[in-house]
Symmetry: C2
């Protein structure tokens, strides 16, 4: 493995730290849409786990000599825009967004983490560990579709909109961050490697849609 | 100490469990009003701590043979009404609400906890432990007043409105829960004891207003 520029590590940890902070926000907001108190507590608990992850990343950034706020700043606009464009209108849209959107983001970060030196690789893999959200979302969405088949069509459209918006914002971020772009190309070997990475992400996404009972 | 009716314990733990869940919501909402990313992460961290407390209470309710959702249900309307009537319009109002409102609620729960048998007394005292919010709120509010003296007047009015609304909702809850009313009267000895409890709560509230630099 070629040595990795510290700026790329700081960029990646900064992006992920802000992603965890927005994940907290979003789960906290979705918690209020929960149809039951138990569902609301479950989502609040997942939000709390994201803040634990955020803190780990912020601590590591401080160790690397960077203010967490400074490392996060370049990524706030794109992540805020993504969430602004994909604000769930109800409980099920929130769960699909969490499962499909976070699943895609997690896969992407996990692929990039493989190119990082330790301890940052392990840290990223650790904070990406599922907080129990996936299983919860799958159960609720499948139950809703079983109760009303028309739900599947509406949620499939919603999921496609999420992915489109995620691709738009990711491209904008990578285009503006040369170090991240270099990390991706160097890590995968070349542009063909990047193409294979995208294929892997797409395959995993299609599988998640199938598990939810949605059309990709 | 006279023996305490289990229904009163369940009522108190249920009210507190829902209060922690709404505290999570409110801190998560206030986090979004933070003027800095560091302030936002700080509030999100405090919200996460409240969910830890909620989980402890929910676990104890389950041990006592009561569904947490069932124990919380009688208190959702009053607590939701309180938060609906006192939605902060900005970052400073949110901090004053957290410091003054939570301070008052914490003092009240702490007084009532003294009447409970163990392990519930210790559990309540433990979940009431300050999550670092108080010191943070005092620092931010005092700094804002130092920068602009007119802020003190507006926030003093806001604090008075909070207390008025808190008294209205508490009276409604106690009026509808005989076991809680009995616990209060039996615990303090008699109505004169209740009056002294209210005096202690008022004195502590006046002190908090002074610390913030507000007029009670």
């Amino acid at each position: 493995m070629t040595s990795v520029d510290t700026r790329a590590v700081v960029d990646l940890l900064g992006a992920l730290a802000y992603a965890e902070l927005t994940a907290f926000d979003r789960l906290a907001e979705d918690a209020r849409l929960a149809p039951t108190l138990a569902g609301r507590a479950a989502l609040a608990r997942m939000a709390a786990a994201e803040i634990g992850h955020h803190d780990r990343l912020a601590q590591r950034l401080t160790e690397l000599g960077t203010e967490p706020a400074t490392a996060m700043a370049p990524f706030t606009a794109a992540l805020d825009a993504f969430h602004e464009q994909t604000r769930p209108g109800n409980w099920l849209e929130g769960l699909v967004k969490a499962y499909v959107g976070d699943g895609l983001a997690t896969d992407f970060y996990r692929e990039v983490a493989a190119f990082l030196p330790d301890p940052d690789r392990d840290l990223v893999l650790e904070v990406l560990a599922d907080t129990g959200h996936a299983e919860f979302a799958v159960r609720e969405v499948r139950a809703a579709i079983a109760a009303d088949r028309t739900v599947a069509g509406r949620l499939s459209l919603w999921a496609r909109r999420l992915v489109g918006e995620a691709i738009t914002q990711s491209q904008a971020v990578i285009a503006e961050h040369d170090q991240l772009a270099l990390l991706l190309t160097a890590g995968t070997g070349n542009l063909a490697g990047v193409a294979r990475l995208i294929e892997r992400l797409t395959a995993a996404h299609t599988e998640r849609m199938r598990v939810l009972g949605l059309r990709g």
